[in-house]
């Protein structure tokens, strides 16, 4: 296997992008990443696009071909383009496919993109599309919603470990603060614990401010073999590990409702591949689709003891400047969650941080960063580790 490096990155603005279509935003991100890398279209060997539900959100399938076409990579260059789907982990998996393609030697320069255009349908239709990431026949048909599934995780976490609504709210407060320093974030407003607790209840104990929003957005990055990365950029960011794990599609079938075993196993595989431990990681982008998801993630990734995620968050250990900054981008909560884009956006954030380009949200001296992207309520987890030095 060859070492792989990120040589170019780009996020679009995240939010309600009424004036832009799905193809517009992916092309903006893709062209931006290619320009950042300084590669020409002729050098691109393959394109992977993470997209959860073009069919439901914009009534469009065959997303890989569409994006290659409108990126100018089809009619003359015929670059192979593959759409990757794993619900909200689509982006992370698209990146993983791209990494494996370069690592294997099958391709040299590969673009990994992710995108979702979620606001062309109403919020009810969007929620229904998202609910398709769960088990439609045995969760959805019983009346389960996504907030409902995570609410059941939260309820049991609180019951077992004494986690409080205030601690959950602290996740949203921190991520909004981080988002306020991120120019692309959907929400740049700072909120308080009371704002979260006084917002409407969606599924007890989760308030609307415990939930990530519906977002349009796209992200892209360009990968190259590490040996040639310096030809394109002075600041390549190296992939130290790519790992993925599966678990049962339905929450009720998990070994433990408050642990995402897929996260635990993907993290173990990633640490082993990178020969690193949780203490070595300087910052992490985790999949905070709901506040409880960030609490579980920091526990399952090894940054907090099981059951202590709420306390660790309330103590400020996950804030910028804390022991292990979590979601400096604002996370899914404040930066926004265009589902297919999220996994790529997390990697773009880590690369930006490791390059030292993160401005007001910069984690000083960051050497190692991690991303954690989850599909559904935990049936898919993908974990990546990145480093500044090869």
């Amino acid at each position: 296997m060859r070492d792989v490096a990120i040589i170019g990155v780009k996020n679009t603005r995240f939010g309600e992008l009424w004036e832009q279509s799905l193809r517009d935003i992916v092309v903006e991100a893709g062209i931006g990443a290619i320009a950042d890398a300084g590669v020409s279209g002729k050098e691109i060997d393959a394109l992977y696009v993470g997209n959860m539900s073009g069919g439901r959100f914009v009534d469009q399938e065959h997303i890989g071909a569409l994006i290659a076409d409108y990126s100018g990579l089809s009619r003359n260059l015929h670059v192979p383009a593959t759409r990757v789907e794993a619900a909200c982990a689509s982006g992370g998996l698209a990146m993983r496919q791209a990494i494996m393609s370069v690592a294997s030697g099958y391709s040299d320069i590969v673009v990994a993109a992710g995108a979702e255009k979620m606001t062309d349908v109403g919020s009810e239709e969007a929620s229904s599309a998202l609910a398709a990431a769960a088990d439609r026949e045995w969760e959805g048909m019983a009346g389960a919603t996504f907030p409902g599934l995570y609410a059941m995780i939260a309820k049991l976490h609180m019951h077992r470990y004494g986690t409080t609504s205030e601690q959950l709210a602290e996740v949203a407060v921190k991520n909004h603060k981080n988002g306020s320093f991120n120019p692309i974030a959907q929400y740049k407003n700072v909120i308080s614990v009371d704002d979260v607790l006084n917002s409407i209840m969606v599924a007890d104990p989760l308030h609307i401010f415990d939930c990530s929003p519906i977002t349009d957005g796209a992200s892209a990055l360009v990968l190259a073999p590490a040996d040639v990365a310096h030809k394109y950029t002075d600041t390549p960011i190296y992939i130290k590990a790519t790992a993925q794990a599966s678990d049962t599609i339905a929450l009720h079938d998990r070994r433990d409702i408050t642990t995402l075993d897929a996260t635990v196993v993907a993290a173990e595989r990633a640490y082993s591949m990178a020969k690193l431990r949780p203490e070595d990681i300087d910052l992490v982008e985790v999949h905070d689709c709901f506040t409880i998801a960030e609490i579980c993630a920091i526990e399952d990734l090894g940054f907090a003891e099981k059951g202590k995620g709420g306390i660790v968050t309330a103590n400020g250990e996950t804030a910028i400047g804390g022991r292990i900054p979590v979601n400096t981008s604002g996370g899914l909560k404040a930066c926004g969650h265009p589902v297919g884009a999220t996994g790529i956006k997390q990697a773009v954030e880590i690369a930006t941080q490791l390059r030292g380009d993160a401005g007001k949200r910069q984690v000083a001296g960051a050497e190692y960063g991690m991303t954690h992207n989850v599909g559904g309520s935990g049936a898919t987890a993908v974990v990546h580790i990145f480093s500044r030095e090869r």
């Binding site: 048909m141 019983a142 009346g143 409902g148 609410a151 059941m152 309820k155 049991l156």
Partner: protein, 132 residues
């Protein structure tokens, strides 16, 4: 919510809690599985009708309803552990204030949802407190 055949083909499970069991390792499955998660290829799956009694593992009161469930909001959704072992997701009917983790429940036949005003009505199993 669903097409008629998609719902109909699982009626036995939805109405009568019919699941499966692996004769090889003894594990019970609801919803039914045709492949044992422990024994896989060498498992021997047979039908099994669950007693239906169990307890609440965790629950939530859903205020923002799923599509097709708007008329029922707010409703309690729970993960229930059947006495034979497997867990399932279902609504629990009754006073939300009285729900608690560990509460004993039993099954009842209820309307689950509907496809709008003129669409199909779905029936199936919900749960109630065991002493109700």
């Amino acid at each position: 919510m669903s097409s008629v055949p998609r719902f109909w083909r699982n009626l036995g499970s939805r109405y009568n809690l019919e699941g499966t069991r692996c004769k090889e390792c003894g594990e019970y499955f609801y919803p039914p599985r045709n492949v044992c998660v422990n024994c896989r290829r060498v498992g021997q799956i047979e039908p099994y009708k669950f007693k239906g009694t169990g307890e609440i593992v965790t629950y939530t009161l859903i205020h923002t309803a799923a599509e097709g469930f708007e008329n029922q909001a707010p409703y309690t959704l729970a993960i229930i552990k059947l006495d034979e072992g497997p867990r399932l997701t279902s609504q629990v009917v009754g006073n939300p204030e009285k729900m608690h983790i560990g509460m004993r429940v039993r099954p009842v036949f209820r309307k689950l949802g509907e496809d709008g005003e003129h669409g199909m009505i779905y029936y199936g199993t919900k749960f109630v407190p065991a002493d109700a």
